[in-house]
Symmetry: D2
Subunit: 338 residues, 4 copies
């Protein structure tokens, strides 16, 4: 912690700051500048907060120096961590594609989706059984019946499944169904009780970035899961909210690059939710991988125009197969394999 | 729903759109312009979504015309609704102040807080027992023990209490303790399962705005609660996330003005979380009320510099009493009373 | 400047940083923490930049401690500065209202506007002769002919005039016409050549905030003007760009409160451009003044529905007169006078 | 234009809207829905504005249907336009790299920069002679002397030069010096007088996106230039301002994809200003090209740590050469050549 004293702060104010630092078990370095005095707190500053000092007389600003995250930090764990989902590695040389419809609708739709996903070479199936919808009057997902259909299609086609958990009370059901990867959606990135619960199990977790979350907050959300003992975390960039109205969200490729530097954990991107338009998916997919992503999660629906949610952003099987071919060309140019 | 066809869209494309409108039980009006054809869907458009059309050949854009919210809309329920908390009215002529510490810490702290709140003329006591913190290593609140201390202080000083519910599994405890007002925090504004649960009870709910939520999304979150049968909803503007780093959040007074026009329900503001600095609280309090807010929620702590969270933004009892005097002067100029 | 060394940075890296600090004529304080070393640069740090250090081996971050603005800083010039426009004080106890149409259209329109402005008790007349429009095909203003009409109406009704300067080549014309207050629009807040030119004259300048400018950048823009010798600067908050689409811009009342603390210069607000809707103007006007603004700039048009620009946000004379009555009630509650 | 009437708007209100549409030479289609009446204006709606209608009694909303841009729109001019700079094509199969220092400092620095740029295979040299700096106390560029050094280095190494024009009064000098490409910076994207002036000449113009400009506003800024007769426009995405503080700006790859769809003109990206950190440049460069960019503008400085501005984001010659090798591998995977 660095405490910057206001211009003209007196000795009593400086002594009070020093006293507070010592009271918390740290020691201080006092730097008397020409215009201001600056005090550094030496020791484990995690017991301090900027607030504690900023309210004191004569203090202008207090700044934390250390990063708040530990378990997920690359600084602590230098090499890349690989998260395995039934033997499929996230975070290694191989790029992973998770594909499937926004929401689970029928057995036929899921079977067609899984077949298309499998045929294209993607290795995991997605599908929402519980859907977070802005309106209480919109289709909310099939619920447990949707899990049945998803698992059935996944098992039939040899694809591990990824699906979203919204309510902590459903976790037992997810475990019973042996869902392969639990997705925490953007709206729940700071649902701390939910994070704590998925931290207590051992399932891989895809953690989406909150709509307006900083990368630091996102890392701290992952730290909640890791602090519980579950280190099988895959970050998923899905675009942030911005002033631009021409696309649903703004895919933040800088965040991908920054995460790959700050954490040892794998990072994927969701170009479907980011752009919100099917025609944008190929360009955003390529950009995310070029920025360093370890994989993608893409919406694919056998008949997009009939989808019960997000029809506008799903690829049909043919468009997805074509994109997979493009990615197969791109991967080696990035030193990766598909 | 209005569907704008692309330049040069042919008759087949137009017929397909018309077919889809009719298939959903609505009828159409087709407007052939010099550059484009525009098709209006006539009937209850809530069964349609823009996605359904935007994916069709020859369609450029589809726009919803009706608003998505109904129960909370002023359009439906012209006059102001007043939400009563143990007889204290929110949404009438009287302005309501909710005050107290960010988090419940000790019996002495709560007693001193409640005494200060009562003495100043504010009518409700706040205090967090369960705290949403960005870091798993920060103080997470006293939990149930905190509810005990909060209720005790509130009952002793005759102040109904307001406290945050984060986890749906705690709802029964909140009901057992007979918490007077349940607060849904910014991070849970779109925790739809939580919204549905508080929709099933009859307690007043303070619904804070999400960090980057549009006013429309916020109204829809309230609609989730109202759709469950609970119409005792109080909106609370607490600032949005912006590019500005000089203050924690940006208090959005336009949202207050817009809500007062769009909904019949009461609206309050939280100037403490908005600004994030104690010195900003008076100016933001005045601004929120001048924009039309029906009340304020303010952090007050007997010794701010010792607070376990958000020390930097809490007022001490003296500063709060002084603010109450300013507000007493302001209220009649706004046609309100304190 | 504070330089935070990376974990494990060696002595050579520390010595290099110290060397660079000394090479710029400052001295250093080195603080060796348990995890990191922190180096403070003591002296006039304005000759340093964070960039210089962040690129060096072993440096994690460099942070400036001093504020970049000087002439406009309250720290330097404690009491409020009052800017006088033909004897009308901005920044004292009296609140000032600048009103008039978005753009100058006809002599009749300007005469009716000026009459309405005068009758309501406002003291300055606004009107755009040169208009910044997003589209090259929109009405661009009457140009010099507009200045004629504006000045004529202002002089006839005894109202000093405020109008926007967009092009540095028009400055001589503005001086010839003896425009009373020069407005620098949001899009030109960082048009540094324009700022330098208005810094060389002595006319009062209304400096609008850029669409996505931080308060610090805004203060620095004013510093450009002040550095040229012109200290007659009036800040004007006009709303920032945000993700919210329900209103044009988001009025930032926190910025008003912060500016009143950071600078000695007067601050006004433009609720018309902020909200972009006439019905929002009264609420935003009240909120801006309650937050501490020294005045307002409001669009008034004799027949808003016929206005050539921003029709949607102008008040008609009757609505403006009514707002002035509300403000007359509010002012004393804020310790001000109208 | 589509005008949505409020619920319960009467016949008189509808007739007034129809009258206004006709008065502007268009005709109407009236669609009477179950809840609302919707009126479409048929004809060239560019003479109408939403404002005109939204202020009328009984009107809830008015929406423009047509896009505002014409000359720059792909809709009008289907195939890609190629902008040639001394024979170097922007917008064809070949990717173009513009590289060089942020600001021109000395003859030696420019010579070393140009040599490095040339050796790496990039085809154009950048360097700022006039610098937009947030602080009036920062280095403002060498001015005309800087143009001399830039042109000299460019001509000596056979590299056309790109440099920023900030002040309309400098345009003649730029023409005299025969600068090859004129850059309009982010802060001047809506400096409409400057846009009009560069619209009157025939030089290629690099038009950077404003800090918080929508893609539509950016296209309209280009339309200003095109409307003057100059169609040699190259868009340059340089990141937008966001809430994230971990990087300078947020590179918006979705904007690149959208522009390639909406306009026939070439699009490049500036990963140096976007990320603000040298280590981010390779990842962002790859991402921008993968999203469809036709080239890049990158800061390269012989000794970044000594640079007078933006030291933190410049690559040294070795890092740049290495990046060029990576791009040479990437280009064919994107169907491009370097």
């Amino acid at each position: 912690m660095i405490i910057v004293m206001a211009r003209g702060a007196g000795e009593a104010a400086i002594a009070a700051v020093v006293g507070k630092i010592r009271a918390h078990g740290l020691s201080e370095h006092v730097s008397r500048g020409t215009e201001r005095t600056i005090i550094g707190a030496v020791g484990d500053e995690r017991v301090l907060s900027a607030d504690m000092f900023e309210l004191m007389d004569g203090v202008e600003r207090a700044m934390r120096v250390l990063k708040d995250y530990r378990l997920v930090a690359r600084e602590v764990h230098g090499s890349d961590s690989v998260v395995h989902v039934r033997g499929i590695p996230f975070g290694g040389k191989q790029l992973q594609l998770i594909a499937g419809p926004c929401s689970v609708e029928t057995a036929a739709q899921m079977d067609a989706s899984a077949a298309a996903v499998k045929a294209s070479g993607a290795r995991l199936l997605r599908g929402g059984a519980f859907k977070p919808r802005s309106s209480p009057y919109s289709f909310q997902g099939l619920g447990v019946a949707g899990l049945d259909l998803l698992l059935e299609a996944g098992r039939a086609h040899g694809l591990p499944v990824v699906t979203e958990l919204m309510d902590v009370r459903q976790l037992d059901t997810f475990l019973e169904y042996d869902v392969d990867v639990i997705q925490i959606g953007a709206r729940n990135m700071q649902n701390f009780d939910l994070l704590k619960e998925v931290g207590r199990i051992n399932k891989p977790v895809v953690l989406k970035r909150g709509m307006a979350a900083t990368v630091n907050e996102w890392l701290m959300a992952a730290e909640y899961i890791a602090a519980g003992g579950n280190h099988n975390i895959i970050f998923c960039e899905r675009g942030i909210r911005s002033f631009e109205t021409a696309y649903r969200n703004m895919l933040d490729v800088s965040a991908i690059a920054l995460l790959k530097r700050e954490t040892h954990l794998p990072v994927i991107a969701d170009p479907s939710h980011a752009g919100g338009k099917a025609w944008m998916v190929p360009a955003l997919s390529m950009a995310a991988l070029a920025a360093g992503a370890d994989g993608l999660m893409i919406e694919v629906h056998p008949q997009p125009a009939e989808a019960l949610c997000d029809a506008d952003q799903a690829l049909d099987p043919q468009a997805f197969a074509q994109l997979m071919q493009q990615l197969a060309v791109l991967a080696p140019a990035l030193g990766r394999e598909l």
